[in-house]
């Protein structure tokens, strides 16, 4: 089975893109399922189900979403193999710019949208930097020139990725993207494979439920800002 990780900021168009890609894959007789990793809530399961795409959803709740992802992805893979999918696609919302679920050798996709601001690609971090393919959505509502500048800014942080413009609503552009999905690596297990980037470290009192403010309650790994006089 092939695994593809799809990540991107909230509402960037991940679900729309995945649904359109799966349409193309179905036409070629391929069977795909989706596992969605989110933080508190998600409306995606209904959309996948409406499109007859098998889906499982997991919520990280109070745990760092990246840590949650990496500690559950192998089980997700087992679910996918048990369901006899040809492809398993993971969708995860990058909730902080430090997030990145990408795994070495596994086709890694980052979805961002043209409306998020021209300099956004330069701020997103590893989720974009380490992606094999960057999918850019919502080009239908901005000018060609802005799309070109946006692309240029993606190149600035990731010179190697393929950049594919997709219209998440009409599906334009997803045909070529589906070819990349089809060519992704086949794997049986993720055991012993590696993340492309370290996950954010967080082992402090606030991670374990502390809500009070002040130095007396701050324990574990803390990071302090330095303010100028």
């Amino acid at each position: 089975m092939k695994l593809i990780t799809v990540a991107g900021p909230p509402s960037s168009g991940k679900t729309s893109v995945i649904i359109n890609v799966i349409e193309h894959l179905k036409l070629r007789g391929l069977n795909a399922g989706v596992v969605k990793f989110d933080c508190l809530t998600s409306f995606d399961q209904e959309r996948y189900s409406e499109n007859h795409i098998p889906v499982e959803v997991g919520f990280s709740g109070k745990v760092c979403p990246d840590h949650f992802f990496i500690s559950n992805i192998e089980e997700a893979l087992m679910w996918g193999r048990g369901s006899e999918f040809d492809l398993l696609i993971s969708e995860s919302a990058g909730l902080c710019n430090r997030c990145s679920p990408h795994i070495k050798d596994i086709l890694s996709i980052c979805v961002i949208d043209n409306l998020s601001g021209v300099n956004t690609p330069r701020k997103i971090g590893p989720m974009l930097k380490f992606a094999d393919i960057v999918v850019v959505t919502k080009g239908d509502i901005v000018s060609q020139a802005e799309r070109e500048v946006f692309k240029f800014n993606i190149r600035q942080v990731n010179g190697k990725a393929r950049i594919i413009s997709v219209n998440g609503i009409t599906g334009q552009g997803t045909f070529m993207l589906s070819k990349h999905f089809e060519n992704a690596l086949d794997i049986d297990t993720l055991n012993d494979m590696r993340l492309r980037f370290t996950t954010p470290a967080s082992i402090c009192s606030y991670c374990t439920g502390e809500t009070r403010i002040g130095p007396a309650y701050q324990m574990g790994m803390m990071k302090k800002m330095e303010f100028k006089k």
């Binding site: 043209n114 000018s143 020139a145 190149r155 190697k160 594919i164 045909f175 070529m176």
Partner: protein
């Protein structure tokens, strides 16, 4: 020529920035703007504390490698596809499976309009062109470039660089003045000749009915002014050899001149439209029906003659619009 690796090893950051101004951006992107620039990057990185590298998940040699990659990326203008003189649309079939039976060659400088009811399959045709379909999309069409079949590798390579698109729904969303915007676009295109900015600006002003200045904010432009700027920008700055225009009839610009401008700049221009003025200005028109190409009509001489009356009608409407705008009374026409 030195390789980028050698360049980085032997030259100071200042020297590199001198030759590659874009290099500055690299240091902004990795949040290292106050490196000592009179040293080589390797030396400069020795002045940065280990804490930084841990914190941002980077290592010194990784930054060196990334910097070489960055300079390489922006050295070859990899966003450009050149040498496309024609495309050929080889027929597939419509929604019911009836064959299209056409082989339409479109050369650069040609204008083709696409007509047909909404939902008839115009966007599928545009999609086929964009991905250079090879009898593998639902329409079964094949698109040839310079008369030749295109491999998957070449398709991946040209992806997103072939086609510039312009439609009624597109707006400017950047918070920049017209001048800042054109400069930014020129920079991202590594345009060497700064006069292109003025050319774009003047041409856009020519196409738009109402004038705007270099200092006007993009978001304050009227619909017509935005469209005019988009067209001028596409004609002079975009490198995509194919331009797809989707319904610009109500844009309030000189449409005929706009498409002539694109054609003059050696673009292959396709316009999806129901506007008689635009459709008749094209060399040919593709009629779409039931998801397929129903036929291709070459604009006849008689049609070209009637274009003259269409232009007069259009002019009359424009005059009326301007009279309304200026608070004048409208008198019986003709």
């Amino acid at each position: 020529m030195k390789t980028k690796k050698e360049l980085i090893r032997t030259e100071t950051i200042d020297e590199i920035i001198e030759n590659y101004p874009i290099a500055k951006d690299f240091f902004m992107n990795i949040n290292l703007t106050d490196l000592p620039k009179n040293k080589t990057l390797e030396e400069a990185l020795m002045t940065v504390s280990d804490v930084y590298f841990e914190e941002f998940g980077m290592e010194r040699h990784w930054i060196l490698y990334q910097f070489a990659l960055f300079l390489d990326t922006f050295d070859q203008s990899s966003e450009t596809v050149s040498g496309i003189d024609s495309i050929t649309i080889c027929g597939g079939h419509d929604k019911s499976g009836n064959p299209e039976n056409i082989d339409l060659v479109i050369s650069k400088g040609e204008i083709i309009s696409i007509v047909g009811p909404t939902g008839s399959g115009k966007s599928r045709l545009l999609g086929d062109i964009e991905c250079v379909a090879q009898n593998d999309t639902p329409t079964g069409r094949t698109i040839l470039i310079n008369g030749e079949i295109v491999s998957d590798d070449e398709r991946f390579e040209t992806e997103g660089k072939l086609v510039a698109q312009l439609s009624q729904n597109m707006n400017f969303v950047m918070d920049l003045s017209v001048k800042e915007f054109l400069e930014m676009h020129a920079r991202s295109r590594f345009t060497k000749d700064p006069s292109v900015i003025t050319t774009c600006f003047e041409c856009a002003n020519d196409l738009a009915g109402e004038k705007f200045s270099f200092h006007t904010k993009l978001t304050q432009l009227s619909g017509g002014q935005s469209r005019a700027l988009m067209i001028a920008d596409t004609a002079f700055m975009s490198t995509s050899p194919i331009v797809l225009i989707d319904e610009i009839e109500n844009a309030g610009i000189d449409r005929k001149r706009a498409i002539k401008l694109l054609a003059r700049n050696e673009k292959i221009t396709l316009i999806s439209t129901h506007d008689p003025l635009l459709a008749l200005s094209a060399d040919k028109r593709i009629v779409i029906k039931n998801g397929g190409i129903h036929k291709v009509i070459t604009t006849t001489d008689i049609e070209k003659e009637s274009l003259y009356s269409v232009e007069k009608l259009d002019q009359t409407l424009l005059t009326l619009r301007n009279q309304l705008r200026n608070g004048q009374l409208i008198y019986p026409i003709g």
